[in-house]
């Protein structure tokens, strides 16, 4: 992979875990900004976030893009100043690029579809018009806030004598979060699925401005309830970077244990749900119980099955003694064996695997161009994992075994989740065996004023990105949250193209995306 002709000077490098003064990010010409984003994506890197700051002049905005640039690893070896570590054959580094725009600018989406939701978000939140954006619908305020439920925004329509439309939601037939789905079908065949979200919107980002408040961490643990540890950790990284606090190796290791337990509970639970969706009940029942066992392990650490209270700014809220780590390892081994038995049944059942294979395929080129993240991206051949690209100490010391598949179907996503679960069992066994020493919690200090910091965590669904910007008093002037679901909902829409409407539950479960994390 080459670096094309990107002039690296227009990027301001940012070290992972360290904050930088906002005025160190000099705005560049819009064309340079656009080419930096384009080149980053073309090189296999990521646009982690794209948002706008208001300026002192009316109708003038500063677009801010936080990028994860991918480099061939020799480059990383030659430049010891690079903040990130090598992931596979590549290394990643963080950079920030800014540009001034008025109320409109030429859309970047036609060239780089991975930016389509960020641009819709800019339009929705700031009124900036990315001219030439192919589908400038609101992201999450439909139909709340400015909208009206009886006057929804136009959705994609298909006309023809034999075409029909199936509308589902917002309330679904089960214990599921609300969202509105429209399938344009010809018979059973789905031409197109469009998903309208925003029903879980609770005004989270606006609530964070002026913080951190005493309820901020509670809000972070509820960005997406099943990713409490992931989001709390990303937030803690932001605050720790802004207050120049370094957590101890022990606190880092305990956070990683919480994160992997969260991953295990969700992966094992969803594998059971996938089995349930194809009527293979043995694995469905066993995994349901095993998920509970894994949640109970989280509760052994923090008292909460969802890991609430584990991550605290500056460290962790709970410690493990030798007796507890010993009994956790023992339980993990027996749960791991039981989960393996349950999964072997599923993967050895041709009627189940036959239903998974070739269903809901997201080809690698689609996954790459849409910027999918997490296991869904890795099941479609996109090699991206924060635990390898921007590892904390624990993940550097105990690299997680890493898998990549190309097929991009329900089978690949299911297998990927089982492989990742196996890797997490092995990781936890290693880390719990030799928990490093260190303080549980370092007292946080005042946040640096007029600064920006990035938090990055590989949650069980994928890349979680938090960005905090402080004002002159060291309070949050703005706070951005990008849940992996933000990127991956479009992947689910693509998975349904040309599929049958009866494939939907299976495809949906294979992604199991968060509505709350998307709607914020």
């Amino acid at each position: 992979m080459t670096h094309g002709d990107l002039n690296e000077d227009i990027l301001t490098p940012l070290a992972f875990g360290v904050c930088a003064p906002i005025d160190s990010f000099e705005p560049v010409a819009f064309d340079d900004f656009a080419s930096a984003l384009r080149q980053t994506l073309d090189d296999g890197g990521r646009v982690l976030s794209l948002f706008a700051r208001s300026t002192s002049e009316a109708q003038q905005w500063t677009l801010v893009a936080v990028l994860a640039r991918r480099h061939a690893s020799e480059a990383a070896g030659q430049d010891p100043a690079r903040a990130s570590l090598v992931g596979g054959d590549y290394s990643f580094s963080l950079g920030v690029v800014c540009a001034r725009v008025g109320q409109s600018y030429p859309s970047l989406t036609p060239r780089s579809p991975a930016l389509h939701l960020f641009e819709r978000d800019l339009h929705e939140r700031c009124g900036i018009v990315p001219e030439g954006h192919p589908w400038l619908r609101p992201v999450r305020h439909w139909p709340s806030d400015g909208g009206d439920a009886t006057q929804p925004w136009p959705m994609y329509e298909l006309e023809g004598p034999e075409v029909h439309e199936v509308r589902v939601g917002p309330v679904h037939a089960g214990v599921i979060e609300p969202g509105h789905f429209r399938f344009q079908c010809h018979g059973e065949r789905v031409f197109r699925l469009e998903i309208a979200l925003g029903f879980q919107h609770r005004g989270l980002l606006a609530q964070l401005v002026g913080g951190p408040h005493c309820h901020t961490l509670a809000q972070m643990e509820t960005v997406a309830g099943d990713t409490s540890v992931g989001h709390a950790w990303a937030h803690a990284q932001v605050v720790e970077a802004l207050s120049q606090v370094c957590v101890s190796p022990r606190a880092d290791a305990l956070r990683a244990c919480g994160l992997e337990l969260e991953r295990l509970a969700n992966h094992v639970g969803d594998l059971g749900a996938l089995a349930g969706d194809v009527g293979f009940l043995p694995t469905a029942s066993y995994c349901g119980g095993l998920r509970g066992d894994l949640l109970n392990l989280s509760a052994m650490i923090s008292g909460s099955r969802l890991g609430r209270g584990l991550v605290r700014v500056g460290g962790v809220g709970f410690d493990l003694d030798d007796e507890l780590t010993g009994s956790m390892r023992e339980r993990l081994r027996s749960i791991g064996e039981a989960a393996e038995r349950a999964n072997l049944l599923l993967w050895a059942s041709p009627s189940s695997t036959g239903r998974f294979e070739g269903t809901g395929t997201v080809p690698p080129e689609v996954a790459r161009s849409l910027g999918l993240v997490g296991f869904a991206a890795r099941a479609s051949g996109v090699d991206i994992d924060v635990r390898r690209c921007f590892p904390t100490q624990t993940y550097s010391d105990h690299p997680v075994r890493h898998w990549l598949k190309e097929q991009g179907d329900v089978y690949a996503r299911g297998r990927m989740r089982w492989r990742e679960a196996e890797a997490s069992f092995a990781f936890l066994d290693q880390v719990l065996d030799e928990l490093p020493e260190g303080d549980l919690r370092v007292a946080p200090t005042e946040l640096s004023p007029d600064s920006l910091a990035v938090g990055l965590v590989e949650g069980w669904r994928g890349e979680i990105c938090h960005i905090g910007l402080t004002d002159a008093q060291g309070r949050f002037e703005a706070y951005e949250i990008v849940d992996p679901s933000f990127h991956n909902w479009t992947g689910l829409e693509m998975a349904l193209r040309g599929a049958e409407i009866s494939d939907f539950p299976l495809c949906n479960k294979s992604f199991n995306l968060s509505y709350a994390g998307h709607d914020l």
């Binding site: 609770r202 309830g225 066993y286």
Partner: protein, 252 residues
């Protein structure tokens, strides 16, 4: 086939002994908080300052609203006089909002909602679950009730896929403005007699989002609530205990 049977044998009996015996909970489980207002050093206010949801007041005397509480126990950690303590008691459900405000007396736990509810639904209850602006943490624990450990079906209780099949509505989340209409429509579509369960701090009081202009401050401003089950999220046993109590069923 043999493999499936062998795995079934290795799996063993997983369903909990509850309600014949009290549930097993983790040692660090944070249940009901206990108050000793007499021990409170007036004017200290340390607990008031750390509480993320303003669940605690010191004036005129110490009171804690379990409907707002996230059970983070930060207040317990900062209290210099042990006027606040955390107990492992998982039983938290009440039938009135006021009962959730602890002032030092024992918590008035929920009892059967009415003779008619107990008679009609005591052995067969269909619940329609609506997630309305929450984080899905409560929804995940409601979902867990249907797994083989808690096995809701053995009580004759099941989650139904249509409000027309439902006898009760269970709502999680603070009720986002975008969901208010859907919650009302679901309530209207459930045939009477019916009752409503608010699950979690968000549905009872708005929880950590109580100050957000994008949400209601809980379910009660949208539909009448009959049963309050606090927590963030409530443990599945807390949920089960509350629902069984509302039906007048025996619980430990």
């Amino acid at each position: 086939m043999w493999n499936i049977l062998r795995t079934r044998a290795a799996q063993g009996q997983r369903t909990a002994a509850y309600p014949k015996s009290a549930p097993e909970l983790p040692a660090r489980f944070r249940g009901r908080l206990a108050l000793a207002p007499a021990a409170c050093d007036e004017g200290c206010g340390a607990c008031v300052d750390v509480c993320p949801t303003h669940a605690i007041t010191c004036e005129p005397s110490l009171a804690l609203d379990l409907g707002r509480c996230l059970f983070c126990t930060e207040c317990v950690d900062v209290c210099p006089t042990e006027a606040l303590s955390s107990t492992p008691d998982y039983r938290l459900a009440t039938t009135t909002r006021d009962a959730l405000v602890l002032k030092g007396e024992p918590l008035a736990l929920a009892e059967r909602l009415s003779d008619e509810i107990a008679r009609r639904f005591g052995r067969s209850l269909g619940i329609r679950v609506v997630s309305a602006g929450g984080c899905a943490g409560c929804a995940a624990e409601v979902n867990a009730l249907s797994n083989i450990i808690f096995d809701l079906g053995r009580f004759g209780i099941h989650v139904v896929a249509s409000p027309r099949h439902a006898d009760a509505m269970l709502v999680t989340g603070p009720v986002s403005h975008a969901m208010k209409g859907a919650v009302e429509a679901t309530y209207r579509a459930i045939p009477a007699p019916k009752f409503v369960i608010a699950v979690g701090a968000c549905a009872i009081s708005g929880g950590p989002y109580a100050e957000s202009p994008a949400v209601e401050q809980g379910l009660a401003t949208t539909v009448p609530v009959d049963l309050f089950i606090p927590g963030c999220p409530p443990h599945p046993y807390t949920l089960l205990d509350g629902i069984l109590r509302a039906l007048g069923r025996a619980v430990p």
